[in-house]
Amino acid sequence: MNQPATYTEEVLVAEIKGKSRKAFEYLYDNYSPALLGVIYNVLHNEEASNDALQEVFVKIWNNIHNYDPSKAKLYTWMLNIARNHAIDKLRSKAMKTDRELRNDKNFVSHINGNVSTFVDGIGLQKLIDGLDIEQRQIIDYIYFQGYTQSEVAEELNIPLGTVKSRVRLAVNKLRKHF
């Protein structure tokens, strides 16, 4: 990131709408590592994650006119596109079979330290260590696997209100780290 220039989100959005090459470079240099990190932690597959990152950038580029700054920061909006796209991919048939066969190598087991050839976030590990098992589980289901609240409630056999309050507890704990 040896780019001295800094965009505010507002200027960046305007520049992306103007399809500026420089804005793409900036967007990519500054945001792609986080987007790829989130995608990878959903898919756990390097090749599929690289493909997904490409698709996500095309989506961001072509859908920037749908971005509404009163509803989310640009960063949040992009992260949600990336995560939702990865989750869709995860649910697509091919990945699903692959995933099932990997003995549910999901985020929760992932936390318990299996070694990937792809680099995993050190920061993530540290953050996750601070969560108790119920909170990890809820973040895994909702954030990394894209379950709806009612799906989680059913899966874990807990009331909907409990699902929500666990999400809040988990995010509050994460917040303390920053």
Binding site: A5, K71, K73, I122, V171
Partner: protein, 272 residues
């Protein structure tokens, strides 16, 4: 509408994660406009989840950027483009040559404009610093991840070197049997300590519901040495003593208690 209760419910976190049903999302969209408390809480959750995402950052491989650029349409071409605001918006210098009697009034106006401009200037600076901080955090994570990766690689190589160069370790080449003539694997085994390592980079790919399993032959009987992933260099197998041969069979995921002999891919005898 109890705003506090909404904040405490966990609904806003789901809203930021884009995991609320459309009707509830629309409701919060509306409420945040009217309740700044709600809006501020949403922004805080966003900041937390942004930081959570940057903690996961992975640097994409170098060729990906060009691959993506090739799929996008640009209004301008590479080099020349609208320049980003490399510095904060310029503060306007207001030159005034007022008559003496208007000096006071003019000075006040200048002061007010100056204050406005500098507030704007510092606000932009603040935003800039904020996004610089974010970028640096991301960068720091990426570097930390790279260091960790390199360290793991180097430790793995040191361990491999130690195994290979240890004269008490025996290298046993397992050769392909008729059903898999090109398959090959190497077991490094220490009969004194019983420690065994398997290099399985030359085994053919398997169906998704199958896995390789390593066996040692001790006293004429097969002893389970554990399942082996294809393509693993120096997988640590279970300890075994007194082996006269090693073999690898193809088994269902998770392995079996006894080998499926008709699916034995490679075999190697221990030479004394």
């Amino acid at each position: 509408m109890d705003i506090r209760a909404i904040i405490e419910s966990g609904e806003l976190e789901l809203y930021v994660m884009d995991r609320l049903p459309a009707a509830e999302t629309a409701q919060i969209d509306k409420l945040r406009v009217a309740h700044s408390e709600l809006n501020e809480e949403i922004r805080r959750i966003e900041d937390t989840l942004i930081a959570f995402a940057t903690a996961q950052a992975i640097r994409p491989s170098a060729n990906l950027k060009n691959k993506i650029a090739a799929q996008l349409n640009f209004a301008d071409e590479p080099a020349q483009t609208v320049t980003p605001n490399t510095t904060a918006p310029e503060t306007k210098v207001i030159t005034m040559v007022p008559p003496a009697y208007r000096f006071m009034a003019a000075a006040s106006v200048a002061l007010i404009i100056g204050l406005g401009a500098s507030t704007f200037y510092y606000y932009s600076k603040y935003n800039e610093a904020n996004s610089n901080l974010l970028a640096m955090r991301t960068e720091q994570n990426v570097l930390a991840n790279q260091v960790k990766y390199q360290k793991e690689q180097s430790e793995a190589m040191q361990q491999q070197l130690a195994v290979v160069s240890d004269p008490t370790n025996k290298a046993i080449v397992l050769k392909g049997l008729p059903i898999a003539p090109n398959a090959q694997a190497v077991v490094y085994w220490n009969n004194e300590t019983g420690k065994a390592y398997i290099n399985s980079t030359n085994l053919p790919a398997l169906a998704a519901n199958e896995q390789y399993q390593l066996w040692a032959i001790v006293d004429g009987k097969p002893v389970d040495m554990g399942v082996v992933d294809k393509d693993s260099v120096f997988n640590i197998a279970k300890d075994v003593k007194g082996a006269v041969a090693f073999a690898i069979t193809v088994e269902p995921l998770g392995g079996k208690a006894t080998p499926t002999l008709e699916k034995m891919y490679v075999l190697g005898n221990v030479t004394i």
